[in-house]
Protein backbone atom coordinates (compact mmCIF):
# COMPACT_ATOMS: atom_id res chain seq x y z
CA UNK A 1 0.00 0.00 0.00
CA UNK A 2 1.40 3.37 -0.90
CA UNK A 3 1.55 5.91 1.89
CA UNK A 4 -1.00 8.69 2.13
CA UNK A 5 1.64 11.14 3.21
CA UNK A 6 5.37 10.80 3.18
CA UNK A 7 7.76 13.35 4.53
CA UNK A 8 11.51 13.07 4.32
CA UNK A 9 14.09 15.28 5.97
CA UNK A 10 11.71 18.14 6.75
CA UNK A 11 13.45 21.26 7.99
CA UNK A 12 11.84 24.51 9.14
CA UNK A 13 13.89 27.54 10.03
CA UNK A 14 13.35 31.14 11.05
CA UNK A 15 15.82 34.03 10.87
CA UNK A 16 16.95 35.75 14.07
CA UNK A 17 19.69 38.31 14.64
CA UNK A 18 22.04 35.46 15.33
CA UNK A 19 21.40 33.76 12.01
CA UNK A 20 18.78 31.19 11.02
CA UNK A 21 17.44 28.98 13.76
CA UNK A 22 16.16 25.55 12.79
CA UNK A 23 13.05 24.59 14.73
CA UNK A 24 12.47 21.35 12.86
CA UNK A 25 15.71 19.54 12.06
CA UNK A 26 15.20 16.79 9.55
CA UNK A 27 11.98 15.00 10.44
CA UNK A 28 10.92 12.03 8.33
CA UNK A 29 7.81 9.92 8.59
CA UNK A 30 5.23 8.07 6.54
CA UNK A 31 1.55 7.95 7.19
CA UNK A 32 -1.01 5.53 5.83
CA UNK A 33 -4.68 5.59 6.69
CA UNK A 34 -3.85 5.37 10.34
CA UNK A 35 -3.64 7.54 13.43
CA UNK A 36 -0.25 9.06 14.11
CA UNK A 37 0.51 10.99 17.29
CA UNK A 38 3.23 13.62 17.57
CA UNK A 39 4.16 14.37 21.18
CA UNK A 40 6.59 16.87 22.61
CA UNK A 41 6.89 19.82 24.94
CA UNK A 42 6.62 23.49 24.02
CA UNK A 43 9.24 24.39 21.46
CA UNK A 44 9.81 20.84 20.27
CA UNK A 45 8.66 21.69 16.74
CA UNK A 46 5.56 19.50 16.75
CA UNK A 47 3.15 22.22 15.65
CA UNK A 48 5.58 23.48 13.02
CA UNK A 49 5.72 19.99 11.55
CA UNK A 50 1.93 19.94 11.30
CA UNK A 51 1.74 23.39 9.79
CA UNK A 52 4.43 22.79 7.20
CA UNK A 53 2.42 19.90 5.74
CA UNK A 54 -0.31 22.40 4.86
CA UNK A 55 2.30 24.97 3.78
CA UNK A 56 1.03 27.34 6.43
CA UNK A 57 4.49 28.63 7.30
CA UNK A 58 5.04 31.94 5.62
CA UNK A 59 8.06 34.12 5.04
CA UNK A 60 10.47 34.71 6.67
CA UNK A 61 10.03 31.12 7.81
CA UNK A 62 11.64 28.63 5.44
CA UNK A 63 10.55 25.04 4.84
CA UNK A 64 12.72 22.53 2.99
CA UNK A 65 12.31 18.80 2.55
CA UNK A 66 13.79 16.07 0.38
CA UNK A 67 10.31 14.70 -0.16
CA UNK A 68 6.86 15.82 0.86
CA UNK A 69 4.19 13.88 -0.97
CA UNK A 70 0.52 13.62 -0.29
CA UNK A 71 -1.25 10.88 -2.25
CA UNK A 72 1.19 11.23 -5.13
CA UNK A 73 1.07 15.04 -5.17
CA UNK A 74 4.35 16.79 -4.48
CA UNK A 75 3.37 19.41 -1.92
CA UNK A 76 6.64 21.31 -2.30
CA UNK A 77 5.90 22.38 -5.87
CA UNK A 78 2.25 23.33 -5.36
CA UNK A 79 1.40 26.96 -5.95
CA UNK A 80 -0.64 28.91 -3.42
CA UNK A 81 -3.69 28.49 -5.64
CA UNK A 82 -3.21 24.75 -5.93
CA UNK A 83 -2.73 24.51 -2.19
CA UNK A 84 -6.08 26.20 -1.63
CA UNK A 85 -7.73 23.34 -3.48
CA UNK A 86 -6.00 20.87 -1.16
CA UNK A 87 -6.48 22.66 2.16
CA UNK A 88 -9.83 21.85 3.65
CA UNK A 89 -10.88 19.56 0.83
CA UNK A 90 -8.18 16.91 1.13
CA UNK A 91 -6.16 17.83 4.22
CA UNK A 92 -7.68 19.85 7.01
CA UNK A 93 -6.58 21.03 10.37
CA UNK A 94 -8.30 21.50 13.74
CA UNK A 95 -6.67 24.24 15.78
CA UNK A 96 -6.22 24.53 19.51
CA UNK A 97 -8.69 27.08 20.75
CA UNK A 98 -12.17 27.48 19.25
CA UNK A 99 -12.38 30.94 20.79
CA UNK A 100 -9.71 32.25 18.46
CA UNK A 101 -10.29 30.09 15.41
CA UNK A 102 -13.99 30.71 14.74
CA UNK A 103 -15.18 33.85 13.01
CA UNK A 104 -17.02 35.86 15.69
CA UNK A 105 -19.35 37.66 13.27
CA UNK A 106 -20.66 34.63 11.36
CA UNK A 107 -23.10 32.08 12.70
CA UNK A 108 -21.92 28.54 13.20
CA UNK A 109 -24.05 27.31 10.31
CA UNK A 110 -22.71 29.92 7.88
CA UNK A 111 -19.13 29.03 8.75
CA UNK A 112 -19.67 25.34 8.21
CA UNK A 113 -21.45 26.10 4.94
CA UNK A 114 -18.51 28.21 3.81
CA UNK A 115 -16.13 25.30 4.34
CA UNK A 116 -18.31 23.10 2.16
CA UNK A 117 -19.29 25.53 -0.61
CA UNK A 118 -15.69 26.66 -1.16
CA UNK A 119 -14.88 23.22 -2.49
CA UNK A 120 -18.15 21.93 -3.88
CA UNK A 121 -21.01 23.55 -5.76
CA UNK A 122 -24.22 22.30 -4.22
CA UNK A 123 -27.85 23.42 -4.13
CA UNK A 124 -28.68 25.35 -0.98
CA UNK A 125 -31.10 22.79 0.38
CA UNK A 126 -28.52 20.06 0.19
CA UNK A 127 -25.95 22.31 1.88
CA UNK A 128 -28.34 22.83 4.78
CA UNK A 129 -29.03 19.13 5.06
CA UNK A 130 -25.33 18.31 5.09
CA UNK A 131 -24.67 20.92 7.80
CA UNK A 132 -27.36 19.53 10.07
CA UNK A 133 -26.20 15.97 9.46
CA UNK A 134 -22.63 16.97 10.23
CA UNK A 135 -23.60 18.76 13.45
CA UNK A 136 -25.46 15.65 14.46
CA UNK A 137 -22.40 13.55 13.69
CA UNK A 138 -20.38 15.60 16.18
CA UNK A 139 -23.12 14.92 18.74
CA UNK A 140 -24.77 18.29 18.95
CA UNK A 141 -28.27 17.61 20.20
CA UNK A 142 -30.21 20.42 18.64
CA UNK A 143 -28.46 21.13 15.31
CA UNK A 144 -31.07 23.52 13.91
CA UNK A 145 -30.76 25.83 16.89
CA UNK A 146 -26.96 25.59 17.16
CA UNK A 147 -26.49 26.36 13.44
CA UNK A 148 -28.06 29.77 14.06
CA UNK A 149 -25.83 30.65 17.04
CA UNK A 150 -22.75 32.85 17.03
CA UNK A 151 -19.46 31.45 18.41
CA UNK A 152 -19.70 33.44 21.65
CA UNK A 153 -23.04 31.77 22.39
CA UNK A 154 -21.60 28.26 22.49
CA UNK A 155 -19.39 26.66 25.15
CA UNK A 156 -15.76 25.70 24.58
CA UNK A 157 -16.53 22.03 24.08
CA UNK A 158 -19.34 22.78 21.68
CA UNK A 159 -17.15 25.31 19.82
CA UNK A 160 -14.51 22.66 19.31
CA UNK A 161 -17.13 20.24 18.01
CA UNK A 162 -18.24 22.93 15.57
CA UNK A 163 -14.62 23.28 14.42
CA UNK A 164 -14.42 19.54 13.87
CA UNK A 165 -17.69 19.60 11.92
CA UNK A 166 -16.31 22.39 9.75
CA UNK A 167 -13.08 20.53 9.10
CA UNK A 168 -14.73 17.22 8.30
CA UNK A 169 -17.64 18.36 6.15
CA UNK A 170 -15.65 18.41 2.88
CA UNK A 171 -14.61 14.80 3.72
CA UNK A 172 -10.83 15.28 3.74
CA UNK A 173 -8.49 12.30 3.53
CA UNK A 174 -6.17 13.57 6.23
CA UNK A 175 -7.00 15.44 9.42
CA UNK A 176 -4.33 17.25 11.39
CA UNK A 177 -5.45 18.03 14.93
CA UNK A 178 -3.11 20.41 16.73
CA UNK A 179 -3.79 20.22 20.49
CA UNK A 180 -7.53 19.91 19.78
CA UNK A 181 -8.50 19.60 23.43
CA UNK A 182 -5.96 21.49 25.51
CA UNK A 183 -8.38 24.42 25.98
CA UNK A 184 -11.11 22.09 27.25
CA UNK A 185 -12.08 20.47 30.55
CA UNK A 186 -10.98 16.90 31.24
CA UNK A 187 -14.52 15.58 31.06
CA UNK A 188 -15.18 17.29 27.70
CA UNK A 189 -11.77 16.33 26.29
CA UNK A 190 -12.66 12.66 26.18
CA UNK A 191 -15.93 13.38 24.38
CA UNK A 192 -14.29 15.50 21.69
CA UNK A 193 -11.52 12.98 21.09
CA UNK A 194 -14.01 10.13 20.93
CA UNK A 195 -15.88 12.02 18.22
CA UNK A 196 -12.70 12.62 16.21
CA UNK A 197 -11.70 9.00 16.67
CA UNK A 198 -15.10 7.74 15.62
CA UNK A 199 -15.27 9.84 12.47
CA UNK A 200 -11.69 9.11 11.47
CA UNK A 201 -12.24 5.38 11.81
CA UNK A 202 -15.59 5.24 10.02
CA UNK A 203 -14.44 7.44 7.13
CA UNK A 204 -11.07 5.70 6.88
CA UNK A 205 -9.10 8.93 7.09
CA UNK A 206 -5.55 9.51 8.20
CA UNK A 207 -5.09 11.43 11.44
CA UNK A 208 -2.14 13.33 12.84
CA UNK A 209 -2.79 14.18 16.48
CA UNK A 210 -0.37 16.74 17.89
CA UNK A 211 -0.28 17.03 21.67
CA UNK A 212 1.92 17.42 24.71
CA UNK A 213 -0.05 14.76 26.57
CA UNK A 214 1.60 11.34 26.22
CA UNK A 215 -1.26 9.38 27.74
CA UNK A 216 -3.87 11.01 25.59
CA UNK A 217 -1.91 10.35 22.42
CA UNK A 218 -1.22 6.76 23.36
CA UNK A 219 -4.92 6.23 23.84
CA UNK A 220 -6.09 7.64 20.53
CA UNK A 221 -3.27 6.79 18.14
CA UNK A 222 -1.72 3.71 16.55
CA UNK A 223 1.80 5.05 16.34
CA UNK A 224 3.66 7.80 18.20
CA UNK A 225 6.54 10.09 17.32
CA UNK A 226 8.20 11.77 20.30
CA UNK A 227 9.85 15.07 19.40
CA UNK A 228 12.39 17.08 21.32
CA UNK A 229 14.03 20.29 20.05
CA UNK A 230 13.10 19.69 16.44
CA UNK A 231 14.17 16.05 16.21
CA UNK A 232 12.16 12.84 16.43
CA UNK A 233 13.84 11.10 19.36
CA UNK A 234 11.64 8.04 19.42
CA UNK A 235 9.09 6.28 17.29
CA UNK A 236 6.96 3.51 18.70
CA UNK A 237 3.60 1.79 18.56
CA UNK A 238 1.12 3.33 20.97
CA UNK A 239 0.83 0.16 23.03
CA UNK A 240 4.60 0.00 23.42
CA UNK A 241 4.90 3.41 25.05
CA UNK A 242 5.56 1.85 28.45
CA UNK A 243 8.59 0.18 26.95
CA UNK A 244 9.99 3.37 25.40
CA UNK A 245 13.76 3.45 25.58
CA UNK A 246 14.87 7.03 24.90
CA UNK A 247 15.75 8.85 28.13
CA UNK A 248 13.63 11.84 27.12
CA UNK A 249 10.49 9.74 26.64
CA UNK A 250 11.20 7.86 29.86
CA UNK A 251 11.71 11.16 31.66
CA UNK A 252 8.41 12.55 30.39
CA UNK A 253 6.54 9.43 31.46
CA UNK A 254 8.10 9.45 34.92
CA UNK A 255 7.53 13.17 35.49
CA UNK A 256 3.77 12.77 35.29
CA UNK A 257 2.02 12.32 38.61
CA UNK A 258 -0.39 9.37 38.65
CA UNK A 259 -3.75 8.98 40.32
CA UNK A 260 -2.42 6.63 42.94
CA UNK A 261 0.72 8.63 43.67
CA UNK A 262 3.09 7.07 46.20
CA UNK A 263 6.30 8.89 45.30
CA UNK A 264 7.49 11.55 47.71
CA UNK A 265 9.19 13.46 44.90
CA UNK A 266 8.70 13.42 41.13
CA UNK A 267 11.75 12.69 39.00
CA UNK A 268 12.80 15.74 37.03
CA UNK A 269 14.27 15.70 33.54
CA UNK A 270 17.99 16.14 33.47
CA UNK A 271 18.17 18.42 30.49
CA UNK A 272 21.89 18.02 29.92
CA UNK A 273 21.57 14.29 29.26
CA UNK A 274 20.48 14.48 25.64
CA UNK A 275 21.47 18.05 24.88
CA UNK A 276 23.81 16.63 22.24
CA UNK A 277 21.10 14.94 20.20
Amino acid sequence: MSALLSVENLRVSFPTHRGRVEVVKGVSFELGRERLGIVGESGSGKSMTGRSILKLIHKPGLVTADRMEFDGVDLRSQSEKQMRAIRGARISMVMQDPKFSLNPVMTVGEQIAEALVTHEKLPRREVNERILAMLEAVRINDPTRVAGLYPHEVSGGMGQRVMIAMMLIPSPELLIADEPTSALDVSVQAQVLDIIDDLVTTKGMGLILISHDLNLVSRYCDRILVMNSGVVVEECAAGQLERATHPYTRGLLAAMPVLNEQREELPVLDRTQWAGT
Binding site: E41, L214, R219, E242, L252, M256, P257, L259, V268
Partner: protein, 249 residues
Protein backbone atom coordinates in the same frame (compact mmCIF):
# COMPACT_ATOMS: atom_id res chain seq x y z
CA UNK B 1 -7.21 26.30 64.89
CA UNK B 2 -8.46 26.31 61.33
CA UNK B 3 -6.37 28.11 58.75
CA UNK B 4 -9.43 28.86 56.66
CA UNK B 5 -13.00 28.42 57.65
CA UNK B 6 -15.91 29.13 55.33
CA UNK B 7 -19.42 29.16 56.66
CA UNK B 8 -22.48 29.12 54.41
CA UNK B 9 -20.64 31.19 51.79
CA UNK B 10 -22.55 32.59 48.80
CA UNK B 11 -20.59 34.51 46.15
CA UNK B 12 -22.06 36.55 43.30
CA UNK B 13 -20.72 38.39 40.29
CA UNK B 14 -23.32 41.09 39.76
CA UNK B 15 -26.71 39.42 39.45
CA UNK B 16 -25.50 35.90 38.96
CA UNK B 17 -24.75 33.84 42.00
CA UNK B 18 -21.87 31.46 41.29
CA UNK B 19 -21.18 29.83 44.67
CA UNK B 20 -24.02 28.51 46.83
CA UNK B 21 -23.76 27.85 50.55
CA UNK B 22 -20.24 26.50 50.81
CA UNK B 23 -19.11 25.41 54.27
CA UNK B 24 -15.55 24.20 54.63
CA UNK B 25 -12.85 23.98 57.32
CA UNK B 26 -9.20 23.70 56.40
CA UNK B 27 -6.84 22.93 59.27
CA UNK B 28 -3.52 24.66 59.73
CA UNK B 29 -0.74 22.86 57.87
CA UNK B 30 -3.19 20.98 55.69
CA UNK B 31 -3.06 20.82 51.91
CA UNK B 32 -6.57 20.94 50.53
CA UNK B 33 -7.76 20.74 46.93
CA UNK B 34 -10.87 22.06 45.22
CA UNK B 35 -11.59 20.13 42.04
CA UNK B 36 -14.31 20.40 39.41
CA UNK B 37 -15.02 21.51 35.87
CA UNK B 38 -14.64 25.07 34.59
CA UNK B 39 -17.45 27.22 35.89
CA UNK B 40 -17.97 25.18 39.04
CA UNK B 41 -16.96 28.15 41.20
CA UNK B 42 -13.72 26.77 42.60
CA UNK B 43 -11.52 29.71 41.58
CA UNK B 44 -14.19 32.14 42.78
CA UNK B 45 -13.84 30.78 46.32
CA UNK B 46 -10.11 31.50 46.22
CA UNK B 47 -10.76 34.98 44.92
CA UNK B 48 -13.23 35.68 47.72
CA UNK B 49 -10.75 34.53 50.36
CA UNK B 50 -8.08 36.76 48.81
CA UNK B 51 -10.50 39.71 48.74
CA UNK B 52 -10.77 39.85 44.94
CA UNK B 53 -14.46 38.90 44.75
CA UNK B 54 -16.03 41.20 47.35
CA UNK B 55 -19.67 40.40 46.62
CA UNK B 56 -20.29 37.59 49.12
CA UNK B 57 -22.48 36.74 52.09
CA UNK B 58 -21.81 34.25 54.85
CA UNK B 59 -18.59 34.02 56.77
CA UNK B 60 -14.92 33.72 55.84
CA UNK B 61 -12.39 33.44 58.65
CA UNK B 62 -8.68 33.27 58.18
CA UNK B 63 -6.60 31.83 61.03
CA UNK B 64 -9.47 32.32 63.43
CA UNK B 65 -10.30 35.91 62.48
CA UNK B 66 -13.36 36.82 60.42
CA UNK B 67 -12.39 38.75 57.31
CA UNK B 68 -14.16 41.82 55.93
CA UNK B 69 -15.19 42.28 52.29
CA UNK B 70 -12.38 44.49 51.09
CA UNK B 71 -8.68 43.94 50.65
CA UNK B 72 -7.14 43.77 54.11
CA UNK B 73 -3.47 44.26 54.78
CA UNK B 74 -3.47 41.97 57.80
CA UNK B 75 -5.01 39.19 55.73
CA UNK B 76 -2.64 39.84 52.84
CA UNK B 77 0.31 39.19 55.12
CA UNK B 78 -1.06 35.80 56.05
CA UNK B 79 -2.73 34.68 52.84
CA UNK B 80 -1.18 35.02 49.39
CA UNK B 81 -2.28 33.79 46.01
CA UNK B 82 -0.44 32.22 43.04
CA UNK B 83 -2.22 32.49 39.71
CA UNK B 84 -2.51 30.08 36.83
CA UNK B 85 -0.70 31.87 34.09
CA UNK B 86 2.86 32.92 34.87
CA UNK B 87 2.89 34.81 31.54
CA UNK B 88 0.10 37.09 32.71
CA UNK B 89 0.69 37.49 36.43
CA UNK B 90 4.07 39.26 36.40
CA UNK B 91 4.42 42.91 35.43
CA UNK B 92 6.29 42.94 32.11
CA UNK B 93 8.17 46.19 32.78
CA UNK B 94 9.37 45.34 36.28
CA UNK B 95 12.48 43.33 37.04
CA UNK B 96 12.22 40.23 39.20
CA UNK B 97 13.90 42.21 41.97
CA UNK B 98 11.23 44.95 41.77
CA UNK B 99 8.40 42.42 41.70
CA UNK B 100 9.72 40.66 44.79
CA UNK B 101 10.54 43.86 46.70
CA UNK B 102 7.17 45.48 46.16
CA UNK B 103 5.18 43.57 48.81
CA UNK B 104 7.97 44.36 51.30
CA UNK B 105 7.87 48.07 50.46
CA UNK B 106 4.09 48.18 50.80
CA UNK B 107 4.25 46.60 54.23
CA UNK B 108 7.24 48.66 55.37
CA UNK B 109 9.57 45.72 55.83
CA UNK B 110 13.27 46.48 55.67
CA UNK B 111 16.32 44.45 54.74
CA UNK B 112 14.80 43.91 51.30
CA UNK B 113 17.90 43.01 49.33
CA UNK B 114 18.77 40.15 51.58
CA UNK B 115 15.20 38.86 51.73
CA UNK B 116 14.97 38.81 47.93
CA UNK B 117 18.24 36.86 47.74
CA UNK B 118 17.09 34.30 50.29
CA UNK B 119 13.76 33.86 48.59
CA UNK B 120 15.30 33.35 45.13
CA UNK B 121 17.45 30.63 46.64
CA UNK B 122 14.42 29.05 48.34
CA UNK B 123 12.54 28.68 45.05
CA UNK B 124 15.63 27.38 43.26
CA UNK B 125 16.44 30.36 41.07
CA UNK B 126 19.99 31.53 40.49
CA UNK B 127 20.91 35.04 41.65
CA UNK B 128 21.65 36.08 38.06
CA UNK B 129 17.88 36.15 37.41
CA UNK B 130 17.38 38.88 39.98
CA UNK B 131 17.69 41.86 37.66
CA UNK B 132 16.09 40.28 34.60
CA UNK B 133 12.65 40.96 33.19
CA UNK B 134 9.86 38.34 32.99
CA UNK B 135 10.20 37.99 29.19
CA UNK B 136 13.77 36.77 29.66
CA UNK B 137 12.56 33.82 31.74
CA UNK B 138 10.94 30.53 30.76
CA UNK B 139 7.43 29.60 31.94
CA UNK B 140 8.70 27.42 34.77
CA UNK B 141 11.13 30.09 35.96
CA UNK B 142 8.33 32.66 35.91
CA UNK B 143 6.07 30.45 37.97
CA UNK B 144 8.94 30.13 40.47
CA UNK B 145 9.06 33.93 40.63
CA UNK B 146 5.29 34.09 41.15
CA UNK B 147 5.60 31.62 44.04
CA UNK B 148 8.53 33.59 45.46
CA UNK B 149 6.50 36.79 45.33
CA UNK B 150 3.64 35.13 47.18
CA UNK B 151 6.04 33.95 49.87
CA UNK B 152 7.84 37.30 50.37
CA UNK B 153 5.56 38.32 53.25
CA UNK B 154 6.04 34.95 54.96
CA UNK B 155 2.33 34.06 54.79
CA UNK B 156 0.83 31.04 56.53
CA UNK B 157 -1.59 30.16 53.74
CA UNK B 158 -1.06 29.92 49.99
CA UNK B 159 -3.99 30.00 47.59
CA UNK B 160 -2.90 28.18 44.43
CA UNK B 161 -5.10 28.65 41.36
CA UNK B 162 -4.12 25.97 38.82
CA UNK B 163 -0.42 26.64 39.44
CA UNK B 164 0.87 24.12 36.89
CA UNK B 165 -1.76 23.84 34.18
CA UNK B 166 -0.02 26.31 31.85
CA UNK B 167 3.26 24.39 32.08
CA UNK B 168 4.83 21.41 30.31
CA UNK B 169 4.81 18.06 32.14
CA UNK B 170 8.51 18.10 32.95
CA UNK B 171 8.27 21.67 34.27
CA UNK B 172 5.09 20.79 36.13
CA UNK B 173 7.03 18.09 38.00
CA UNK B 174 9.65 20.65 39.07
CA UNK B 175 7.04 23.12 40.36
CA UNK B 176 5.11 20.39 42.18
CA UNK B 177 8.30 19.23 43.88
CA UNK B 178 9.06 22.84 44.82
CA UNK B 179 5.59 23.36 46.31
CA UNK B 180 5.87 20.16 48.29
CA UNK B 181 9.31 21.10 49.65
CA UNK B 182 8.27 24.66 50.56
CA UNK B 183 5.26 23.39 52.46
CA UNK B 184 7.46 21.00 54.43
CA UNK B 185 10.11 23.65 55.17
CA UNK B 186 7.82 26.54 56.04
CA UNK B 187 4.81 24.70 57.47
CA UNK B 188 2.43 26.27 54.95
CA UNK B 189 -1.26 25.58 54.42
CA UNK B 190 -2.29 25.10 50.79
CA UNK B 191 -5.66 25.60 49.19
CA UNK B 192 -5.21 24.36 45.65
CA UNK B 193 -7.64 24.69 42.76
CA UNK B 194 -7.16 22.24 39.91
CA UNK B 195 -8.93 19.92 37.53
CA UNK B 196 -5.98 17.55 37.43
CA UNK B 197 -6.64 14.71 39.88
CA UNK B 198 -3.13 13.18 39.75
CA UNK B 199 -1.76 16.53 40.96
CA UNK B 200 -4.16 16.35 43.91
CA UNK B 201 -2.96 12.84 44.64
CA UNK B 202 0.64 14.04 44.73
CA UNK B 203 0.27 17.27 46.67
CA UNK B 204 -2.85 17.19 48.86
CA UNK B 205 -4.30 15.57 51.98
CA UNK B 206 -8.00 16.17 51.34
CA UNK B 207 -10.16 17.34 48.46
CA UNK B 208 -13.59 18.78 47.81
CA UNK B 209 -15.40 18.06 44.55
CA UNK B 210 -17.44 21.00 43.27
CA UNK B 211 -20.22 21.24 40.73
CA UNK B 212 -22.43 24.18 39.76
CA UNK B 213 -21.18 26.25 42.70
CA UNK B 214 -21.84 23.61 45.35
CA UNK B 215 -19.62 21.16 47.13
CA UNK B 216 -20.63 17.67 46.08
CA UNK B 217 -18.29 15.74 48.31
CA UNK B 218 -15.35 16.17 50.68
CA UNK B 219 -13.00 13.20 50.63
CA UNK B 220 -9.67 12.05 51.90
CA UNK B 221 -6.89 11.71 49.34
CA UNK B 222 -6.61 8.00 50.22
CA UNK B 223 -10.14 7.59 48.89
CA UNK B 224 -9.07 9.26 45.65
CA UNK B 225 -6.03 7.00 45.36
CA UNK B 226 -8.05 3.85 45.82
CA UNK B 227 -10.83 5.19 43.58
CA UNK B 228 -13.50 5.08 46.27
CA UNK B 229 -15.27 8.41 46.09
CA UNK B 230 -18.83 8.37 47.36
CA UNK B 231 -20.74 10.53 44.87
CA UNK B 232 -21.57 9.55 41.31
CA UNK B 233 -20.31 12.85 39.91
CA UNK B 234 -16.93 12.46 41.61
CA UNK B 235 -16.59 9.02 40.10
CA UNK B 236 -17.40 10.50 36.69
CA UNK B 237 -14.51 12.96 37.04
CA UNK B 238 -12.29 10.13 38.17
CA UNK B 239 -13.31 8.00 35.20
CA UNK B 240 -12.51 10.83 32.78
CA UNK B 241 -8.99 11.03 34.23
CA UNK B 242 -8.49 7.29 34.39
CA UNK B 243 -9.61 6.94 30.79
CA UNK B 244 -6.59 9.02 29.80
CA UNK B 245 -4.09 7.32 32.03
CA UNK B 246 -5.63 3.88 31.59
CA UNK B 247 -4.43 3.25 28.05
CA UNK B 248 -0.79 3.70 28.96
CA UNK B 249 -0.97 1.62 32.11
Amino acid sequence: MNAISLNNLDISYGDSKVVHGVTLDIAEGESFALVGESGSGKSTILRAIAGLAPDWTGEISVLGKARTHGIERAVARQVQMVFQDPYGSLHPRKTIDAALSEPLAINGIGNRGERVETMLKAVGLDQRFRFRFPHQLSGGQRQRVAIARALMLEPKVLLLDEPTSALDVSVQAEILNLLKRLRREQGLTYLLVTHNLPVVSFLCDRLAVMRHGRIVEVADVAQLKSGQLAEAYSMELLAATEGHAGAAA
